[in-house]
Chain length 291, copies 2
């Protein structure tokens, strides 16, 4: 069934996600800051909108995928923002990873206009966006979630309803705590192995299938060993997410000592000019401690 | 082919491991500090030896599985120890998790008597020992390893030759860095989720199959959520291994800031009387920080 949908933000994630909606036969309206990024979708039949408000007027669902909290706030409440184009029953799905508290504030403002905001951050990276196998963590009104779910299936493989507004964002932040601390585990383990003279590939093989096993070890370990620091997920973006983690933790008075530590080590990576390398560049920081 | 073998140390790990050797038809001599622990094996046809030296005199391979570095040193160099019973060609396989440096010293002393010492710590716990599916990380002379390998297959599933003497121990310590820091990752992640009001089981489900995935999350996460702190692997034993990690790291001048941190948190667990609980009790310590 073809549904009129709009997509705001056509970056490395949004572009392929919007493409999947188009591929499913939905009537797609798009808007993004840099218009030339929309070119391939316009050629495939998408319609350009001059503002988020204009895009909203032509859709039953508006998807947003932009970098950070202020970007989403601009898209929603800024001049020409979604608030100017909403009508009762519209559902806005925000795929950006942003502040859970800011999400709740925007959801309240939109609810006064009978518009639902679902927070729906994703994990799986650009490869997951391209292959349509993202994990999507959704917070907000349950009925709105159920209406949006068939559309999310265009690019989501694991789609989880996490609870009320902000719950999707908080679940994504929980995900980032796990990802970054497991990454640090791999870095300290390989640093110990390397300085002790072990063969690193043999070491990963010996420990990789038992209680020490993790996605980070299996996927980033070999890159660290090979000295391949090209980005899957960039240090600068990891830091943005860790900043959101530490803000949310401060708001709920949750001490996260090791997460704070890895946040500082990534700051050291940025100071060393590694911000645009992959998160496996954390290994350089940990090794450098020993030099 | 039946081989005369000896097994020293019949604790929670050694007893089922020795049983597997007997089950394979090998001629088994046993010695352990508390003789009544040998009863079941004696009934199955094993022979008792009054000392490690006596056991060594009746075997081509001697397996050792005792708690800590001083215990292995007593078994090897103490009164009635293996050194008194060795002869050229004997191979000693030490399954204990102990100091890599102490291992190298004992290996050198034994080499002067034409006896090989292989360090072969295991992971997989009592369940792995019972089911014969342990991971075994082996250091020492390669030819001696190849001779021992068919015997190790009685209870080992993943058997990795890691390099020269001490390499097996160091690989096990690398394993423990991964295990403990990934455990801490799970604790901080669930603490953030809990204080933010998320449903923890839903959260684990939402994040458990992507870049945040780990054995610790999949296995200890549900126990933390259920409040099940019965030991798979006890805090006290984890602390012993972390002490060995920090010693080895100090010797190789490897700074391990997060591992040092988790070592301190496990100290807090011991202080709270949780030493004999499972390592998932770390969650109690991390939660308590927020109270």
């Amino acid at each position: 069934m073809s549904t009129p949908v709009a997509f705001i933000g056509l970056g490395i994630m949004g572009l392929p996600m919007a493409g999947h909606l188009l591929g499913r036969g939905h009537k797609l309206t798009i808007h993004t800051r840099t218009r030339h990024k929309a070119q391939s979708l316009l050629q495939r039949g998408a319609t350009w909108a001059d503002s988020p408000a204009d895009a909203a007027r032509q859709a039953d669902f508006v998807f947003v995928c932009v970098p950070d909290t202020p970007d989403v706030q601009r898209v929603v409440t800024g001049s020409g923002g979604l608030l100017e184009g909403v009508r009762p029953g519209l559902i806005i799905v925000d795929h950006s990873t942003i502040s859970p508290a800011a999400t709740q504030q925007m959801a309240q403002a939109l609810a006064q206009r009978q518009t639902h905001l679902l927070d729906a951050p994703v994990s799986g990276g650009d490869i997951g966006a391209q292959s349509g196998t993202l994990s999507i963590m959704v917070g907000g009104d349950r009925t709105a979630f159920e209406r949006a779910q068939p559309l999310l299936a265009a690019y989501g493989k694991t789609i989880t309803y996490c609870g009320s507004s902000g719950s999707g964002q908080l679940t994504k932040l929980v995900n980032q705590v796990l990802v970054t601390l497991t990454n640090l585990a791999v870095c300290e383990a390989l640093a110990l192995a390397k300085r002790g003279g072990l063969d690193l590939a043999t070491t990963v093989q010996a420990v990789g299938s038992g209680a020490a096993a993790s996605w980070q070890l299996a996927n980033l370990g070999p890159k660290m060993i090979a000295g391949d620091f090209r980005p899957g997920f960039m240090v600068d973006l990891q830091q943005k997410d860790l900043r959101l983690v530490m803000e949310a933790a401060a708001q709920s008075h949750t001490p996260l000592p090791a997460t704070a530590l890895v946040h500082q080590f990534f700051t050291a990576a940025q100071a060393a000019g590694l911000g645009r390398e992959g998160t496996q560049a954390l290994f350089k920081v940990i090794q450098k401690l020993g030099i």
